[in-house]
Structure formats: structure tokens, C-alpha cells
């Protein structure tokens, strides 16, 4: 019998630990499929973050390093300098990348480090139990913002893609979402483009992916997808912010 579909070789058989309805699983698969489709699996080296995706080193079948909180772009810099021909990526959440690791991501972009960052933005700290993130929306409740994020005291959510798009050596910056099938397909295209540009050695590549956290948002998986669409996308608009191949 013909095999019409099978799991990508980019993932191991280890069962994910993610909560029901969490979109990390989808994003893992997209990254793994892209690596397989581009023939990069044997040469890929990924960097896991601290946060919900901390165990992704067990899920991706390529070589992996587990970084300290926020330091994945620095670790990836070391890896890529030693392995300039490898496909190197970091997989980071919003607390990891936009808060404690803000300096590392900005300066890896500034240097034009030739790796790809997959930035999973779900507007909350998931692993530690629902604390406010730099990307938590104004008014959104979190365990450290029990009355909702107060913009006078905690400021406004950080739009990382827009910020990185101002950096000349960040040659591909796109924000996508995985709340429905058409957007999942667009997300995969963006991830593929980012790795293609990385392998051409053109500079730093970045894909921000809006993601859900039903557990810490206090919503069902379906409500979460709807909430993402209605609340996150208006503040974090989807689209390409930079594509060096189109700017000639």
C-alpha cells in the first residue's frame, strides 16, 4: 500500500510534553519539515531555549544544544562560527527572546549572524505558570499582572519583528501565525524562506510565530485560537517586514 503521509524525519519519536491545544507542536513540525524538505537535516544544529520549548532538543532529530535563558543567539553565534556550512537555528519563546535575551537577539541581528531564529510569541510565560511577558497585551491578565497589564507601569508590548526590521543585517523578518490552516501554510513558507536565505549566507533571518497558550490564558484550545486572531493580530500585524531578496 502506498504511503500517502508520514511524520517528518526531522522529529524524533519522543512524545511532546506540550499542553492540549498548544501550538508549539505545529511549529515544531513546520521547522522539522522545512529542514527535511531542504535537505538540511544532516547538517542542522538547533539551539533550545529556556521556557516551554526547553525540551525541544529531545524532539528535533538534528544535533541540538540547550542554552541558558535568553542566550540562544549567542550560543548559535558560537555554533555557526565553528560550523559555517551548517543550518543553525534558535527556537525561542517571548520571555526568553524579548525579555532576558533582548541584548543577544539584537546584537546577533546587528552582526548579521547567519542563522535563523524561530520566535514563538504567545504573549505569556508558559513554563513558569503564566507570568507577564514583554509581549503580554495591555489589559491581558497574567499571574504577575492580576489586574491586567497596566501600560503606565509595565509599558506596551514589544513588537520584536518591527524592531529587528530596522537592523540592516537582519535580512529576512516576517511575522506569521498558526491559528488556522491557511496561516499554518504561510508560516511554513516563511520558515522555508528564512532557511534558504540563511544557506545563501546573506545575513540574519527571523520568523516570529504567533502562538497560543490555552493553559495560562485560561481558555479552551478553540477559544485560544479565536483570541489570538481577535486580540494578538491587531497589535502584532502579520506580514513580511524585511526580505533582502525583494529589496534590490
Amino acid at each position: 500500500m502506498a504511503v500517502v503521509f508520514q511524520k517528518t524525519k526531522g522529529l524524533t519519536d519522543k512524545q511532546f510534553h506540550y499542553c492540549p491545544g498548544c501550538t508549539h507542536g505545529i511549529i515544531h513540525r513546520l521547522v522539522a519539515e522545512v529542514l527535511e524538505e531542504l535537505g538540511l537535516l544532516d547538517d542542522a544544529i538547533g539551539v533550545a531555549p529556556v521556557g516551554c520549548a526547553v525540551f525541544c532538543y529531545d524532539y528535533f532529530s538534528c544535533d541540538m544544544q540547550e542554552a541558558a535563558h535568553g542566550r540562544a543567539p549567542a550560543v548559535a553565534t558560537g555554533i555557526k562560527r565553528v560550523n559555517p556550512k551548517s543550518a543553525v537555528f534558535t527556537y525561542q519563546g517571548d520571555g526568553d527572546l524579548a525579555s532576558i535575551g533582548a541584548a543577544e537577539i539584537v546584537h546577533a541581528s546587528m552582526r548579521g549572524e547567519k542563522f535563523t531564529t524561530i520566535f514563538v510569541n504567545n504573549a505569556i510565560y508558559g513554563m513558569t505558570g503564566g507570568q507577564m511577558a514583554p509581549t503580554t497585551l495591555v489589559g491581558q491578565k497574567a499571574t504577575t499582572a492580576p489586574y491586567g497589564r497596566n501600560e503606565d507601569l509595565a509599558g506596551m508590548p514589544l513588537r520584536v519583528s518591527e524592531m529587528l526590521a530596522t537592523i540592516p543585517k537582519a535580512v529576512f523578518v516576517e511575522r506569521v501565525s498558526v491559528h488556522d490552516i491557511p496561516n499554518i501554510n504561510k508560516a511554513k513558507k516563511a520558515i522555508k524562506k528564512a532557511f534558504e536565505i540563511q544557506m545563501k549566507g546573506l545575513g540574519f533571518t527571523f520568523v516570529e510565530i504567533l502562538s497560543t497558550c490555552p493553559t495560562n490564558w485560561g481558555k479552551t484550545p478553540l477559544e485560544s485560537l479565536k483570541w489570538l486572531q481577535e486580540n494578538m493580530i491587531p497589535y502584532f500585524p502579520l506580514g513580511n517586514f524585511r526580505n533582502v531578496e525583494e529589496v534590490k
Binding site: 544532516d42 544544529i45 541540538m64 544544544q65 541558558a68 550560543v75 558560537g78 565553528v82
Partner: protein
């Protein structure tokens, strides 16, 4: 090769390159700036090598993690406040068992402290500056030549034990110029780095560089494994110089720059008929406790005098080794002040007067 005049920092950098270090990640801080500056000049001349000026010490040590995890010979350098910033990365590197060399050209502290030579980072280097149970191999050169030799060997030590090695100099060692000969230090028989992340090439299971063990039993087992490794280091790597110890009635314990000043004091004391010896630890960890203990057991030894450029840190390890057998005294200058031979002589006489 004939002897050449080299500044300590630059000599350490060249020694690292001679040892096969091809990747350097650093950040400016006085008094170690000549190391990154020299690497910035030399690395582009070497095929496949790289120098990166990181955005911070925090980033630099994590670049070391990534590069070391990929199996390369990697180094970073800094001075005291910068080494404090690197501690997070150092504990991760120790936990993930990655070989690398970290140079600390120590300056006065605490806080921003000063930029003159000091030895007040001894606790940080030898007792675990970051969180968790771990050890660094800590090497303390007392001349530029010794800094060169130890730096070259440090890379082999790091690879042998899969452990970070710290070269602990002080501002004097870093800034001073001395005649140096770059001789080949004996190469160790080293295992292949089959654990490194270089891409599976479709030929093996994926390698994972990691220090996370979420199951407490597994985490404890990992710690026990690390300590078996540290026990091997304690067995094989202790280095110490014993100087003028025959018949010494007072034994100095000092390392690095301070040990050289103590040697001057010993000469002066000798002229005055006082027999003084020196135990100079070359490895600060593992510590030469047995040498100190053996000296304490000698009948001719009346007292110990530890001399440091700190308020008294290594003296605790001397006291542990002497274990009450003889009195242990301390003399130190700190904050960038360097003890004079005259002050050390005076302190020794005071100690002997008190012991008689």
C-alpha cells in the same frame, strides 16, 4: 626558538593560538584588553578561525558554550567584573561538560573595584563562582613564561576532562613584559569529540549538549559523575613549586605575582639568618593540600604565613590543610595594592617573634 620580549596578555593569546585555539569571543575590560586586541589581529590570518567581539561578557561566554559544544578549541578572557558576568555561562559549561579556556586577569574589587593587580577572585575561581556543585581547573602562572606554558597545556587539560579551565593571572602578569620562549608543551593523548554538535551527517543519532536533568535521580547521578571526574583531576593535576623548603622555620604560601615578591623577601630573610621557604600553588584547584600538610608535619617548620593580594582567601585552604598542626598567619594588600618585600620581611619577623 630564541627568547622574545612579550607582554603577558599578548603572550597568553599567542600561546592559545599555538595550542590550536581558533575561536575567541571577548569583550573589552581593563587590564586584559590586549588579549582580545591580539586575537582580533591574529584570528583573520588563520584559516577557518574567528574573533567575535561580543555585546557583553554574558554573550561572550555563551558563544564559548556554542563553539565548545561544536568541538572547537575556544577561549574567552576578561577581568574580575567581567568574570562575574560570565559565571552563568561557566556553570552551564561545567554542567554540560564542555572544554574551554577562560582567562581572568584579576583586578581589585568588589564592585567596579579598580584596574590594578589583585588576587581577590580566589574564592570565585576555586569554590564555584556560579550556582551548583562544580569545579574549574584553575592555573595560576607567576611569570609570563609560565603563563605561556600553562595556557598551551590548558587546552589539553580541558579536552581531557571535558571541563572549563581557568587561567588566573593578575594585572601584573597581564601587563608585564618578560622574555618568553614558545616551546611545544607535551601533547596529551586525547579522546575524539564524538559528543560534539557538528551535524549528524545522517550517520549517527543526534548529539545534545545540555545541562538539564529534570529527574532528580538523574541530576544527582550527573553530579556524582562530575565529582568522579574532579577526583581524577585531584589525583593527576595538582601542581606546586616548593622553594627553599629545607630547614625552613617559616613557610610562606603564595601564588602568582605575590609568590615572586615573597621570593625576594626570602632572600632578605636569609641574609639575616632566618630560614624561610615557599610553597607556591600552581594549580589553585585542585589545591596542593598534601604539600602544605607535609610541611606542617615537619619539626623545623614553626609557622605558616600566607601572603595574598586580597583580604585573605587562599589562607582558608592553607588552614584546612595545616589542620591546626601549626599556626597559620596572613598578610595581604588589596584593592590593587601590591605587597612590598620589606613589608613581608617585617611580617615574617613578627610571626617568628610571636611563635618563639
Amino acid at each position: 626558538m630564541a627568547k622574545e620580549l612579550w607582554k603577558g596578555n599578548e603572550a597568553i593569546a599567542e600561546a592559545a593560538i599555538k595550542a590550536g585555539c581558533k575561536f575567541f569571543f571577548g569583550y573589552p575590560i581593563t587590564p586584559q584588553n590586549e588579549i582580545p586586541e591580539y586575537m582580533a589581529m591574529r584570528m583573520p590570518q588563520i584559516e577557518g578561525a574567528a574573533f567575535v567581539q561580543a555585546e557583553s561578557e554574558v554573550a561572550a561566554i555563551n558563544m564559548v558554550y556554542g563553539g565548545a559544544g561544536s568541538g572547537a578549541r575556544v577561549m574567552t578572557s576578561s577581568s574580575s567584573p567581567g568574570i562575574s558576568l560570565k559565571q552563568e555561562g561557566i556553570t552551564y559549561i561545567a554542567g554540560a561538560e564542555l572544554p574551554c579556556v577562560i582567562v581572568n586577569i584579576v583586578r581589585g574589587g568588589p564592585g567596579l573595584g579598580g584596574i590594578q593587580p589583585a588576587q581577590s577572585d580566589y574564592f570565585q575561581a576555586t569554590k564555584g563562582g556560579g550556582h551548583g556543585d562544580y569545579r574549574l581547573l584553575v592555573l595560576a602562572p607567576s611569570s609570563v613564561q609560565e603563563a605561556v606554558d600553562l595556557t598551551q597545556e590548558a587546552f589539553d587539560m580541558a579536552d581531557q576532562y571535558r571541563n572549563p579551565v581557568m587561567i588566573m593571572g593578575d594585572g601584573m602578569i597581564g601587563q608585564m613584559m618578560e622574555p618568553v620562549e614558545f616551546t611545544d608543551v607535551p601533547k596529551r593523548n586525547l579522546p575524539e569529540k564524538t559528543w560534539a554538535t557538528t551535524g549528524t551527517k545522517g550517520k549517527r543519532e543526534h548529539n545534545v549538549i545540555n545541562s538539564l536533568f529534570i529527574d532528580p535521580a538523574a541530576c544527582e547521578k550527573h553530579n556524582i559523575h562530575l565529582f568522579e571526574k574532579y577526583a581524577e583531576m585531584e589525583k593527576n593535576e595538582v601542581r606546586v613549586e616548593e622553594y627553599n623548603m629545607d630547614g625552613a622555620e617559616i613557610v610562606f604560601v603564595a601564588y602568582g605575582t605575590t609568590a615572586r615578591i615573597v621570593k625576594n623577601a626570602i632572600a632578605t630573610l636569609g641574609k639575616e639568618g632566618i630560614k624561610a621557604g615557599l610553597i607556591r600553588p600552581i594549580t589553585l584547584w585542585p589545591y596542593p593540600s598534601k604539600t602544605v600538610e607535609a610541611a606542617a608535619a615537619k619539626a623545623n617548620v614553626k609557622a605558616f604565613l600566607t601572603v595574598e593580594m586580597s583580604m585573605g582567601q587562599m589562607v582558608e585552604d592553607v588552614r584546612l590543610a595545616v589542620n591546626g598542626a601549626k599556626p597559620v598567619h596572613f598578610y595581604g594588600r588589596t584593592g590593587g595594592m601590591v605587597p612590598t618585600p620589606a613589608a613581608i620581611v617585617a611580617e615574617a619577623k613578627k610571626v617568628l617573634g610571636g611563635a618563639k
